[in-house]
Point group: D3
Chain length 312, copies 6
């Protein structure tokens, strides 16, 4: 942006008293210490997802926000999609009753991000689980409004990351197997304190058809919903199974799709700015993001130890 | 059948020396003791799936077969379907490489069996998990050719079985909530000794769209397959993602679907009779069926205790 | 039916005191006098639709029923279809709010009934309007639960009934133009006392695509419904336009369509027998059928006079 | 447009003798007096549809054109669409024979124009009937080439215009219920002097699926046509029902849709300019547009009085 | 058929003077001599297609019919299909103008007839070309009404008939490669005296998708037609490319497909009986069938010699 | 391009010693002499397809290239399409076995190129056969890797080129019948020395539905492939007929089609530049292009003489 001031050391930026809000968009490893420094410097912080590479680092961020009485939010932009917003609204209205089973899905057949340090486990804390599974899990917990995990188990795989380049078939061109230290797929089974189950599936590369990313499926005592063919709600009405599809484009006219919905990234920015200006709660609470990070950590731990991971 | 001899006490039947082979088609609870008695009476036995209500009972059956040197098989007829047979053949040819992730799926939106004692947990040992999940799991283990589970976790639910009759929307008419003591849905996450993951989903009643029954999905190092739109194989070929669909109807002619495949139930019977006559191994080995029963038991146990269940 | 007693003069039948209930299935012209005789002979009567060839004859039937304190019903079987029953249930629950616009549609592209006296205006009182339009109108009034018409206008046509046989393209083979005295299509616009509008379209033969028979479309203040692609309900929910489709086959299982719905003709018979036995109101009240006949009469009259027809 | 001269009082513009042609694009109420003034000032006038808010005002326009011997046309651009032009050509070739039944359809599920004064009945003379129903009716009369209405009936509704904003689901965002004085839907049944029927349906907001705008359906003695799935012609040929679809994109090549058709708005402008330059009849005659306005007036009148409206 | 008289020597049958008509349904090699004997015995003969294994044999049949003044027809039943009859009617009406390009197609992916002697070249005179290609060619010539071939070239293949049984994938089960002496596919290019081209493709087994059997495609100066998605007619109308689809099921009503068409085999029999009784020309003239046989012979000859085959 | 030097006489350009490579993009008649002059002037030449208007001219080009030891290639860009490249790769891997039947297809329903001299037979050497059929044939020969034709027959037509303008329905607007001297469609049947058959169909204007351009279909002893619904491979696998579809967009992710393939025209240019710089063989060898031209010449000759055309 013309006229923008560029810093090569973030600590210099933090000294600038005219700056009130900082956005952290670095590799995951740096999320925590930059955020903590910024909060300590008296800035509000929006940090990109995931919150941090593990829960210890995430807790430092949360504590720094509280200690400095500054706002902290995490960039789970997927919540601002029209389908997510509609689903959440129905959930809050009690449409689904008690949600006891859910799936958080982020499956790519072959779409390993080949730029930056995405495939470097040390820098990122993991691969598809922490990169895209995190979106699907956040969306699922938010829809369920359930942030109390009891325990989880998980598995991670490094099965396709050493494929020769000409057998990769990757959406963004071949990756460098030498540098690809993160997992290529990861799966988890999470049992919540109230007994609910969440199945999490994530992959950057796997031999499964029909890729789906950052979607959720919920089944409750009154109804269910999925995003497998657009947003669909299902249940029983007058003794008949039904499916209900909302038109998320407004529409209703032959030649026009409707004024449509606010762009998710614009909406995320608007809500954050409003929260800062009006001193209200941000749309994504850091306490919620922390639970996401704890569960991902639990899955990674279980995959390493071959044992379940208990929360608390 | 005209001329058939009818017994009201199975022990009388076992005394009939002209009978060589006995088929056990009772509620699950009776599978074990009738089978053991029959084997001890010198009969070969085909017992309907699941093998037994738990592994202890199943082991008795296996031991009786060995002690009497008689053949024992379990009615996992799903293996004889054209899609299952084709999938198994590809698996044995190495098409998929090392299968490290699989899903065993048996989801009904609303199709609780209302006749007999299907919904009685005491008589059957459980609900959809042991009734239809068992088929999906058998098919999955057989395709993977992997019978060494390490541990599993699971959850079971009784969320919809007490619905009022006019809110059930059941395919076979309303069930009697008083008598419905089995679960209505059950889920499991199984980690095999070689590190592979199996996710099992089963329900007789749940608010999920697109019901699917007794199917498997496998993802291996070389390719994958599912049954979500007929049998489909997927992978990479010459650097391109592909999908391959076999025509299981033979076909190839404009006015005719082809002579088609042997009916699964006929094939099951034929293979069993051949095994008895030729003194060869039956198509479904009791040792394989025992592993299915052990895993189901592990899921039921984990659901009760809230802890993982370790095999061995 | 073996053992059934056959009469060649219906008056003989009416003398048989062992007969309690009479069904009248004659050409329309005979509906009234046979029904009146039967009621006077102390029988309950189910008369096929339409009630009579005009309202004067229909009123005689209604008065005879009251005078003899016997039950009378008219065979509007279309109400017993699963889609009709579901629609009515939603309407009674207030789903649609105030229904102010509706369409009653019974359009055949080319399907003139060539047997019996269907195409004889004298015997039947008319053509497609009184034969199939009557079903669509009954279904519409019943869904709206609105039996107070204010006025109507209408048009009838005899445009295609004199086509040469080889240009007819009729579903049941060519008709005899000489004998075809009834209209081939008829249209009406009905304004109800509460201001609601009903548009009625009926044809046995017309150059329109997409034939549709005996269906209704309703638009209310809260929601609407049609039967143009199965039964569909539409409206606004959480600010979004939606469409909801009930599964009228029960279903919910991969291999089975569900136990399904009672056959409409069986259900019609069952409800009628129950009404007679339990001395309760029949499913189709003669007062309702009278209003249908009055409106059809109004449309025929308006078509003849070129003026609107006012009720009362 | 750079260099364009802007007037704030149209009377000043009319004094400019270098201007030969005036286009009137104001709210409907101003159509008549500006057009009359312009014609009196010696200009040719193209006035946007509808011609005027009622027939009295429209007649003034027609008379002014005649008195001044200037050209007047009305902007029924829908006639210049490729489907309309093709349909008209077939009609003129006699494909349909005598058209005795037609539908003029302009239904929006939820697309109330929220800008300008569209929803103000005083300024516009009405709502969807005069705004979009007018297009569908013009197209229908033009295809039938029938401008002699005998009588009509009609109904108008204000059922959804007072919905709360969050229940509107409007394509262009919420409307202001306070300002929304026009109808939200309107229906008419028109009988022509030759006995033909036209059913008119129009809505900006109604609970009906499948919105369709400014289309016509015609049924004649030889064939019919509709625009429900692109332009389709239907009838009987060699004793078989057929459907014929013209490819309005030219096409006929695998990689290209064809040079296509002239843009309707360009074509409208071109034809008008040619008519002025060559002193020939404009494409839309003011006498035709007057009949459209008369029929709309008849429907509005009938809706108010609850009686039919007779023309002449 | 009960009471039917069975002969084991056809010559005995020919001696039965009560028999007027003989149907010859033997392997192709026997068509000629049995037919000739039957005609000489004073019978009318319907002989199954192809007329004979070569033109020399076919000519004997034609001459015997003439010499004995008896009727002879060949069972090209495909002409009696509703699509064929409709196509022929349009062709006779001049819809297509001068047909100068056509395709006769009879392609099966894998549907070798495994019963009888179908795969025996000696008994049948060939494989798919003479068995099913013959139907497609007859239909094409009949539609073109063009029986004057100038020359042709052709190729035949024996590429898949020696496949191992488990690689055949045949619709009717595996064939016996030892016995399979006929070709598995054959292709021809026929130039007619008036310059028209016919491309013939036939196969019982070939690696092509979308099998199609006994269909024709014609392109003429005014229009064209194919049977690739039901019968479709195409051309230009009012400057636009169109496609016209006749509804061969009658139809035109929502709940019924129409009284439909006469069954082709019944129609073939009816027309033949009428021809015999009324002493009129049979539906399929032997002179037409002879040309089909001549062309097939030409293709077989060209395939053997690697040179074109000239007729005349 | 700014700064580009423009010559009005190509001979001037050839004198410019700074130019190493010349691209010839003229009407076909000029391909040969400009190319020969350029080669003689020491330039490498890429000449647009077809190589020349006949084989005599093409051979001159080939000889000039050899004599001057310069590179010559022909612009058969269709080989560089993703589907063509994938098909070739499979062919080279032996997927199809021995390809014995193929189709080269370039059919336009109505898409005569109306600009330049495309329709002038003298300037171009022909019409659709030499213009687009040449692409389809080059692709077919390249896939088969078979450049030894034995003989061919062919037909060409001038049936639609004299249509009146308003009956042409051409994708690029009407053509000038006076100037249209080339054929409008052409067909060929080519027999290769190894016995394989190629059927060639080409048209700029013909009454056939489903236009397809520059595609090939191949059937081999092991498998086949076509481009009728994207690239599809078919054959038998484990006794079942299969179809395999590669995803030529990479893909494998829900929100992105994949980095995709190199643009065919960019790829063509890149390969040519690399061949020049590295002194390697160009992607399209002139010897291959010569065979294409020889076959087209054979078809034109056969169409003129009514006799087969033998190569060598």
């Amino acid at each position: 942006m013309p006229g923008a001031k560029v810093y090569t050391d973030y600590k210099e930026l933090l000294k600038d008293e005219t700056i009130e809000v900082v956005h952290v968009l670095t590799p995951n490893r740096a999320h925590s210490f930059i955020t903590v420094d910024a909060l300590n410097a008296g800035k509000h912080v929006m940090c990109e997802k995931p919150m941090a590479i593990n829960s210890e680092e995430a807790i430092k961020m949360l504590e720094a926000a509280k200690a400095n009485n500054k706002k902290l939010t995490i960039g789970y932009q997927g919540r601002q999609r029209p389908d997510s917003l509609y689903l959440k609204q129905e959930a809050e209205q009690g449409t689904f009753g008690d949600i006891y089973f859910a799936k958080a899905t982020a499956i790519r057949r072959r779409a390993v991000p080949t730029w930056g340090v995405f495939i470097n486990e040390y820098e990122q804390g993991g691969g598809p689980l922490i990169d895209i599974g995190t979106h699907a899990l956040d969306l699922t917990l938010w829809t369920m409004n359930n942030y109390k995990p009891k325990y989880c188990v998980g598995t991670t795989y490094h099965k396709l990351n050493s494929l020769p380049k000409d057998e990769q078939g990757n959406a963004w061109g071949p990756w460098d197997s030498e540098k690809y230290t993160a997992e290529d797929s990861a799966f988890g089974f999470i049992v919540m304190e109230d007994g609910a189950t969440i199945i999490l599936e994530s992959a950057w590369a796997i031999n499964l058809l029909d890729p789906r990313e950052a979607i959720t499926t919920v089944a409750g005592t009154k109804a269910g919903a999925d995003m497998l063919d657009g947003l669909r709600i299902n249940g029983i009405r007058n003794g008949r199974q039904y499916v209900l599809k909302p038109d998320l484009n407004a529409g209703g006219v032959a030649f026009y799709d409707g004024a449509g919905s606010e762009d998710p990234s614009y909406r995320e920015a608007r809500l954050w700015i409003e929260a800062v200006i009006n001193d209200t709660e941000p749309s994504v609470l850091p306490e919620q993001a922390l639970v996401v990070t704890q569960i991902l950590e639990g899955i990674y731990e279980s995959a390493k130890t071959g044992k379940p991971y208990y929360f608390s």
